[in-house]
Structure formats: C-alpha cells, structure tokens
C-alpha cells in the first residue's frame, strides 16, 4: 500500500472563491467597506482554509489508522479587536454542509473564475469606485479648483451659464455621434453634413452622375465600402444623430428659461455689452424668461434666433470641420463632370427658409499650390444652381432674401381675419421669422400671423399702423363693391331710359297716324314733350346716380391711395428694422 501523502489542493484559490461565494449568499451582504475590511476578511478566511486543510490531514491520518471520529474544528476564537462572527459559525454558514464533508466532495463545486487578487480588486472597485485619477490629482494639486467647483455647484447663476453651453454642445452632438465622424474624417463613411448637402443635391438634381462622382474615384471615395454606390437616402435614414440633435434642440430650446440662458450666452460671446433684443433691454436672462412667458411672439422670435444660430453655427459647421475630400464639390453642375482636384469643405451650413437652402463654404488648392476659399448656396428646386451670395461674418451668415411671390388678396377680409397684405408679398419671411423656420409654421396664414407678431415686436407703433392699414383695406374693398353696384345701377337706368324713349316715340308715331294732321301734330308734340319730360327725369336720375358713383369711386381711390401709402410706410419701416437687425445679427448682436 503506497504511503499516503497529503498534498494541499492546487486549486485552493477556487476553494476560497467558493467559500466567499457561499458566504456572500449566506450573509446577504457581500460588500465590504474598503480594502482594510476586505483584508481582514481575507486573513480570516485564510485561517479557515488552513484549518480545514489541517482537519482534512488529520482525518486522513486517522482514517489511515482506522480511527475515524468526528473532529470539531479547532479554530481560534476571534480577537476582541476583530468583532466578526465566530469562524465555526461562519464556516457552517459558508458551507452549509457538515464540516466532516470530504475535501473531494467539498472541492466538487462550481469553479469560480478569478483568483483572490483579481476578486479583491473587483470588490474594491465596486465598493469604492475610483474617480479619474488624473482628475483627482488635478483637484488635489489645486485645492482652490476643488473649492471653486463646490461653490459653483451652489451658484444658480453660474450653473445657468454652464447649462446653456452644455445644451449647445449636446445639441451639436459633441462627442456623441459627430465626434466620431470628425475624428475619422479621413474616411468619412457617415458625414452628417455631407449627407445634408448630398441629400439636398440628390433631391434637386436626381442625376445619376451624382452617384458616379463617388464611384469614379479611387478607394478613398466614400462609397468604396458600399459596392460603388452610396445611397444617401438610406444613409440618412440610418443616421439618427441629426434627428436626435433636432429633437434635443427643440425640446430644450422651447423652454423659456433654457432659451433665455442660451440667448444670453450667445450675446455674451459678442462685444455687445447690452443684453436685449432689438432695442428692448433686459437686465438678465430671468427677465427675458418672464417676458417670453408673457409674449409668445417674443418667445418665438428668440427661439428661432437661437435655434438658427445653433443649427447654422454649431450643428453644421462643427460637424464638418475636418478633411472631407469632396469631389463633387468641384464638379460642374451642368454637365456633372468631375474635377479631380481635391476640395476640402471647411464649413457647411444648412438653413431652412421655407424651402431648404444649402450653404457650403469650401477650400481648395489650385495647381500652383495656392489656397482658395469660396462659398455658395443653392436651394431645392433650383437645379443645384447657386441662388445667392452669402456673407460669412464672425461665423454668422446672412442670406439675401429672395423676392417672394405676391399673395393674391383675399376677396372679403374681415377685421378678425384681415387677410394678407396684398401686392408686397411676404416681406417678413426672413432670417429668424416665420418662413418655414418652424416646420409646423408653413402655411401662409400662420406666416402672416408671424409677420404681424414680428411687426408688433419690432415696434408697437407699427402694429397700430398695420391695424389702420387693415381697416383702410377693408373700407377700400367695401367702397369698391359699392362703386361697382352703383355703376351697374347707373348702366341699367340708362338702358331703361333708352328703351322708354324708344317706346314713346313709337307710340307717338302711331297716334299721329290715327288722328287728323293738326291734332296729330299737337298730340305728337304733346307726346313728344311728355316723352322728353319723362326722359329728362330719368336722365337726371341716372346722372345723379352716376355723380354719386363717381364720388364714391373718388373716395375709394383716395382710401386705396391712403392705404397703399400706409402699407408702403409700414413696409419701409419693417425693412429698415430688418436691415438694422440683419446687420446686427451679422455681428451676433442686436
């Protein structure tokens, strides 16, 4: 019989893990506070483990001698400074099985991955989650920094400023989706801004050469991974970052407090020391918040201003800062031919203005190595042709307003629904008002309502002028209708006079033929006089009617003339105001 040699199990750590796992299940609380406690527990378990090994060794010895007896674990009582449960109790709790269980049985447990060290590290990490070490060091090295941050958390005003900046960053998708695109700009598989441009272009021209542009180049082209075709429509569907940004932007910016803070933030970026909107000053964002709550038109105005800036200056431009090689940028829009000169977009903005206007600024290098910057815009429905010039001033772009189609006057406007100013088109569909900036606000009536609100927000006096104008237009139209009725009545009366006269003459002729010559002559003369008298009365009546008609017509013309003058005056003032505000916006200030 070979001599028995006890060998400490090589997988003792797994045993220990099993012990700990059991302990966790039994105790119901496996979390220890900090490394010291963990160390104490580990030490205690090592003792248990050691003792178990001794027990098993003793069992083996006695079994060898045929003296198998139940052995009570002889584990030392815990020391006073270590107020933990008794090891015997713990062992029972851990194992549940009687202590006499053989090592082999005991070891036949589900293996637990990881050793003590790894598990210890995990537990420490769980119980005491570490901050970024660098950040901690930073605050430790600069105690004032930590102090200021703690104070900052309690400052509502400071947090307001930061929240606005954060909202813009989040809205711009900083670091979330767009960041990935920028960082991987050399192989831009999903360049959002390019999508915008391309989708716009695709919707405009829908020319097959567009796809060809991307397929015609070497492996560096976007569609190299797309089997030679890049379906921007599909790409856009799968690219939810823009949609999310829009949703985020709208949901956040529609809140007055958030909006006011962001607006204030934008103003603070300028050198304009005054905080206000087109002449109306506010002491702080809170005042603006309250004002917007009470004035939806003002709220809408600020909302559109802020969201436009974010869309144009943050979302779009930031999303394309990189090195997007963009062959189609240098293509001939008419022929679709591609110039293989590499063009880098350095800015790309998208503006919604009723229809979408795509504005792109780009940079390219000619054969001599000279760098050029250029920009252009185009809009849907224009075949991709540049429609107007854009000016980039301090990162804010102004687009020339295109002439709007005249709006036909409604036949019977009422003061409650004064209709649309006729003849002048929609002068107010501008950079930050009505005009499709809000998707829901696309129909003409809402647009005009927005325009009127804008006029009121610009100057209350103009609102009065507009009301007067609407009243004059109403009066004017009523006068025109009366005039038309009068004209019709006059024409009818004149026609009737002619008929009556013809009848009388016919009757007189017949009477003359049937009487003696003298009598006939007298009768004829009398009849003629009567006819003439009757005719004169009717003619006089017709003339009177005509005079009245002419007078009314004259009044109507005067009223119309006055109305036109008022409209022109209002329009001029609005345009002047807009011009001033556009100029101010170009400098990011009001």
């Amino acid at each position: 019989m070979p001599e028995f040699e006890f060998e400490f199990p090589k997988n003792a750590e797994s045993l220990e893990d099993a012990i700990e796992r059991k302990a966790k299940q039994k105790e119901g609380e496996h979390a220890l506070n900090g490394y010291n406690e963990y160390e104490a527990k580990l030490k205690r378990r090592e003792e248990i483990l050691k003792r178990l090994a001794e027990i098993e060794a003793e069992k083996a010895k006695r079994a060898k001698k045929g003296e198998v007896k139940e052995i009570k674990p002889e584990i030392e009582e815990p020391k006073e400074e270590e107020p933990v449960e008794e090891p015997t109790v713990e062992a029972e709790q851990i194992f549940e099985e009687p202590a006499s269980t053989s090592v082999e049985e005991f070891l036949n447990v589900e293996p637990v991955n990881g050793g003590l060290v790894e598990e210890a590290e995990e537990e420490i990490e769980e119980e005491a989650p570490i901050e970024n070490i660098v950040e901690e060091n930073e605050t430790k090295d600069r105690p004032l920094l930590s102090e200021v941050i703690e104070k900052a958390k309690k400052s509502k005003a400071l947090r307001t400023v930061l929240v606005a900046a954060l909202a813009i960053s989040i809205a711009a998708g900083a670091g979330l989706g767009i960041g990935k695109i920028i960082d991987n700009a050399k192989v831009p598989n999903t360049p959002t801004a390019i999508h915008e441009y391309a989708a716009g272009y695709e919707s405009i021209a829908d020319r097959s050469t567009y796809h060809g542009m991307f397929a015609s180049e070497d492996g560096s082209t976007y569609n190299a991974e797309k089997n030679g075709k890049y379906n921007f429509g599909e790409a856009l569907k799968s690219d939810t970052s823009k949609i999310e940004m829009e949703e985020n932007l709208e949901s956040r910016m529609i809140q007055p407090a958030q909006l006011a803070a962001t607006y204030a933030y934008m103003q603070a970026k300028t050198s304009n020391p005054n905080f206000g909107i087109e002449g109306v000053k506010f002491n702080n964002p809170n005042d603006l918040t309250e004002a917007m709550k009470n004035d939806p038109a003002l709220h809408q105005k600020v909302y559109e201003y802020v969201t436009n800036i974010i869309r144009e200056d943050v979302m779009s431009e930031k999303s394309v800062v990189g090195t997007f090689h963009n062959y189609y940028m240098d293509s001939n829009f008419e022929t679709g031919d591609v110039d293989t000169s590499k063009v880098e977009i350095v800015g790309c903005t998208t503006v919604e203005k009723g229809t979408k206007v795509y504005a792109v600024s780009y940079e390219w290098t000619d054969e001599n190595g000279n760098s050029h910057k250029d920009s252009f815009t185009f809009k849907e429905g224009c075949g991709g042709q540049p429609i107007d010039e854009i000016n980039f001033t301090n990162g804010v772009r102004e687009i020339e307003e295109e002439p709007d189609e005249p709006v036909p006057p409604e036949p019977d406007p009422t003061p409650e629904d004064p209709g649309h100013p006729s003849g002048g088109g929609d002068h107010h569909r501008g950079h930050h008002s009505g005009g499709g900036l809000t998707p829901k606000d696309t129909n003409l009536e809402k647009q005009n309502a927005g325009n009127r609100a804008e006029i009121r927000s610009v100057d209350p006096k103009l609102a009065n002028t507009e009301q007067e104008y609407q009243q004059e237009v109403t009066i004017n139209l009523q006068s025109i209708k009366e005039q038309e009725k009068a004209d019709a009545r006059a024409a009818e009366a004149a026609e009737q006079v002619k008929k009556d006269q013809a009848e009388r003459e016919t009757r007189a002729t017949k009477e003359a033929e049937s009487r003696p010559k003298v009598e006939a002559t007298e009768s004829a003369n009398e009849a003629m006089h009567r006819a003439e008298a009757g005719a004169s009365e009717r003619q006089a009546e017709a003339a009177k009617t005509e005079r009245e008609s002419i007078e009314r017509s004259s009044q109507a013309e005067s009223a119309q003339s006055a109305a036109n003058r008022a409209a022109e005056s209002a329009s001029r003032e609005v345009e002047q105001n807009r011009g001033a505000s556009a100029a101010e916006r170009a400098g990011l200030s009001f």
């Binding site: 605050t139 509502k156 400023v161 930061l162 909202a167 813009i168 670091g175 905080f275």
Partner: protein, 108 residues
C-alpha cells in the same frame, strides 16, 4: 440628492446616447447604476475642464464672485469671456474625451 455642476437631465441624455452605443442591445444588469455613475463622472469632467483651464488668479476671482453670491449670469459670462474660456468648446471637449474613455477608445 447630489448636486450637479451642470444639469442632470442634460448629462443623462449624453450618457444615454453613449450607453446605447456601447451596450447596444445588451444592456448591463446594473444599468441604472452605471448611468448615474457616469453622469456624475461626466459632470466632474466638465467642471474640471472648465475651471481647470483657469489660472490661480482667475480662480481666485471667480471664487470671490461666488462668495459674493453673484446672481447675474451675465457676470459669469463676461468673466469666462474675459478669461478666454470658450464654455461651449470646453464642454464639447469634455464630452468628447469622456466619450472616448467610455467607449474604450472607440472614438479615438
């Protein structure tokens, strides 16, 4: 309740976006714990990014403003402007850096 330097909801939106990118269809069991923890970390990162770019002198100045309980946001706006700190840029940088760390360098 823990106070955040910026705003919990806004931070949560960013973290949710990152979590969805990282875990996709397999959310971890302790999702809410991870979420809150990272919201707090991002908040810390933003605050460190912003204030960490200030000099000691500038820190003293803003500390004084905070001690005086300055309640006009425009004062702080002007402070950062004068200090040459672009808040928007700093927050974006912080988010981007955090994003890279959180996604395991995926964005790097």
């Amino acid at each position: 309740m823990e106070q955040y330097f910026t705003e919990h909801d806004t931070l949560a939106k960013a973290i949710d976006a990152l979590i969805s990118q990282k875990y996709q269809n397999q959310p971890p069991a302790n999702l809410s714990e991870i979420r809150e923890e990272n919201i707090r970390k991002l908040d810390n990162k933003i605050s460190l990014k912003i204030f960490g770019s200030l000099s000691d002198e500038q820190l003293q100045k803003i500390s004084s403003l905070l001690d005086d309980q300055e309640n006009d946001p425009t004062v702080f706006q002007k402070f950062f402007k004068d200090a040459g700190v672009n808040l928007e840029q700093k927050t974006s940088e912080a988010i981007r850096e955090f994003s890279n760390e959180f996604l395991g360098g995926e964005n790097a």
